[in-house]
């Protein structure tokens, strides 16, 4: 977490960094039983070794060892949209050297896709993550310097065909942060 926080401060939000941030947060949560509300899910803790009780990965990671391993939480980034502020491309201030600083907001979305061979377990997993994000949302917002971090949706259940039927639920979050750029003349 410290590394992610450091990189966030240095480089600002980047897709890969936010993917990693959410993965880290979920891994920490599903690595211990104390805070998991559903007893069934508490028996499926994350492990970096094979086999893990639950897979927590980015949706684009190819890992043959985890082929169709369920339950799984797959992290998928949604669209990121710059929100332009007012006029003059968001010109906000000019410092003593007359260097202008431009600000803009970014609004980003992430989905946590919960997959299980049981519809009931997918529902439980979705609810567990949604409640966790509700409870820890203010902490995540503060730690990441987001201006806003909110649970956006808990999708309806859907079915996917694999070797057996798989049920999926997506938990969506939305976050907003501010990015400022100062242009210095050399």
């Amino acid at each position: 977490m410290a590394i992610i926080h450091e990189e966030l401060c240095e480089m600002g939000a980047r897709p890969l960094l936010i993917d990693g941030l959410f993965r880290k947060i979920l891994i920490e949560y599903f690595s211990q039983t104390e805070e998991i509300e559903y007893p069934t899910l508490a028996t499926k803790l994350y492990s970096s070794d094979v086999p893990t009780g639950i897979v927590i990965e980015t949706v684009y990671k190819w890992d043959p060892k985890q082929t169709e391993k369920r339950p799984a939480i797959l992290i998928k980034r949604g669209a990121w949209q710059p929100q332009h502020l007012a006029m003059f491309d968001g010109l906000k201030s000019v410092d003593a050297n007359l260097d202008p600083t431009y600000f803009r907001f970014w609004q980003g979305e992430h989905q946590f896709i919960c997959l299980s061979r049981s519809g009931a377990e997918a529902d439980m997993l979705g609810a567990e993550i949604a409640r966790f994000l509700l409870h820890y949302g203010p902490f995540i917002r503060s730690a990441c310097n987001f201006m806003r971090f909110r649970l956006q949706s808990l999708s309806p259940l859907s079915k996917i065909k694999e070797a057996t039927d798989i049920f999926a639920i997506a938990v969506g979050v939305q976050y907003v942060w501010e990015e400022g750029v100062t242009i210095t003349e050399k």
Binding site: V59, W62, K69, A120, A163, T164
Partner: protein, 273 residues
Amino acid sequence: MPIISTLLTQPFDQVTCDTIIQGGTRISWSMDPRFCESEDWVFQVYANKNADEPNNWVPVGSPVTNTYFVVDPTQRMYGKDARLSYKVVLTIGDDEYTSPIATTLGNLTVKQQLIANAIVRRASLERSQLPKSSGWLFRRRLYGTPCSCVDELVGTSTDPDCETCFGTGKVYGYWQGVAETLYDLSPATRYNTVDDQLVQGTIDAAAIRQGVLIGEPFVESKDLFVLANSDQRYSIKEIKHVAEIGNIPIVTQITMALLPLTHIAYKLDLATS
């Protein structure tokens, strides 16, 4: 559950015979899915040489527990007579349930049965040169004692990795495995990749094979087939009756998908099969 059970006067759904005149007739049965009782289900098969003549019922072997078929090794029909019939008596505690009578011709007419036998014989002969794969068929339990992982409110399993019900929601999950031969098993295909829609992560969508089963037992979707040599376990998906008479499947083509090696089905014990 007991409320439903008490309303049922006939827990047997169907009793069928796969007849072999010189011995080896298999009497199999299926139960009404609504029938739920404790798991000590003791079945006794009786044979009657003269249809349903009273006082002519003789037990076939010893009682069996928690299974769905019995093989009668005795030749009971001689001459040109085919009036042999079977019934199954289920005992649960002090309760006894008697099945409808099944003739050795199943539910078919004599003519239909002869045609069915000819088809089975021909199918077996035609496929004698084709590769055969021996294995075990595990039929999924559709009824029985609900597992402790079943949610009381929604009545469905909350844990697909439960070692008691194997994710089926019924204690034991599957019936005891039956040795079966799968004919004409198609070659395996593999394509391990991240799914196109970016929803599932790493999958192997192409690990699907087809094979042919001849005669009984009848299979259903979500039953399992285990290949003997490789221990690869497949979930049966699509079932196509290549030949059937009077609604009874004679030759069945199945499409089955390879289960991931982390699937709970790999904990099914083959030693008792």
